[in-house]
Symmetry: C2
Subunit: 213 residues, 2 copies
């Protein structure tokens, strides 16, 4: 969830800055701490853990995103775990410190509502993919969603697996198939996307009408 630039100051006004190392825990679901965080730099991973240690990544947050460890304003604590990816700087605010700002500036409240709503939509789409997509659609969708300038960088197959909800081996297989078909190229933690359109076709379960040559 991205926060509008001119709202940053609210965080700086009432929050304190914190720095985290790669993979350092920011929040565990059994914790009782409450706070609202703004990502200044680095990356943050929101994930679930099963009884037997399995992990599911539900959201990756980058610079400008906010997140809360309690359900923003409610008593209930978020049933998620949060950790840093790479060196990461955050600003943390007490929940209570925010209340006066809400009163002073309804725009801030509205911004929050927008951000949480987006999070809802994101989760909804996750469920859609979980329930409706097969392994090819899941991987293809992941690639399209995480493409930057024709590349998907810095993901291992293992990491992709926890995001799309599949086995590492299955992810590897799908990616191999895609690169055999020439839709992507793989170079150690880097996937180059050659054929965007075909990936889209896979997600939408269409056959490509025009050969892409």
């Amino acid at each position: 969830m991205k926060l509008d630039k001119d709202l940053y100051r609210y965080f700086y006004n009432c929050g304190t800055s914190k720095r985290y190392r790669d993979q350092e825990t920011i929040y565990l679901e059994e914790e009782k701490s409450r706070g609202i965080y703004l990502v200044i730099s680095g990356k943050v991973r929101v994930f679930l853990i099963s009884l037997d240690g399995g992990e599911v990544t539900i959201e990756l947050l980058e610079q400008g995103s906010i997140f809360g460890t309690s359900s923003m304003v409610t008593d209930s604590l978020r049933p998620v775990n949060i950790e840093a990816i790479g060196s990461t700087e955050l600003v943390v605010c007490d929940l209570e410190s925010f209340y006066p700002y809400f009163k002073e500036s309804p725009e801030l409240a509205i911004a929050f509502i927008q951000l949480i709503s987006k999070s809802c939509d994101h989760l909804t789409n996750l469920i859609r993919k979980d329930r409706f997509y097969d392994r090819n659609q899941k991987v293809a969708a992941f690639l399209l969603e995480n493409e930057k300038e024709g590349k998907v960088a810095n993901f291992t197959h293992e990491q992709i697996a926890t995001i799309v909800g599949m086995n590492r081996v299955t992810v590897s297989r799908v990616l191999k198939t895609l690169s055999d078909k020439g839709l992507v190229e793989q170079k150690h933690k880097l996937i180059i996307i050659n054929d965007n359109a075909s990936l889209k076709a896979i997600v939408e379960k269409r056959r490509m009408s025009q050969p892409t040559v």
Copy 2:
């Protein structure tokens, strides 16, 4: 999401009442309408549809709940479908009509933030169940979550299937097993829960230490 009682008036102030028949569509994902709805009576089903017509129910809303068809305040429209279950009365507000109220009463904004946050947590837990639970855990969890006075009423196996993300046949099988074990009794669209503790044990993948006789 349940709305605090003294906030009802905001809806009545700026909204108009609408009545829906059983299974009548309230909102389709391809629509462009925006609104915030309050459930006065009846029940509302929020669901997804796949390309080949499969349905997934992600939320059931009852009296006092609110929901929005656009992401509350954002431009993006919610990627969901919404329909009435049984005769249902709603109050609909224009999104824009709400802005002045946010300014006037920050409590309303905070209430909204709480409600959407809860929705987020709900979706998060859905994902947890989708990814981590097997068929027995899914059905047992469903029963516990929808129990009212020892009963789960008015769900067909088919409906349960769209909620827990399983096949109707599989749901029937699991329920048959549970009733064979005596944990529940089934009487046509009514499930009587005899052994709460054992259902919990199934969800948590524990063995019952004490026999429940």
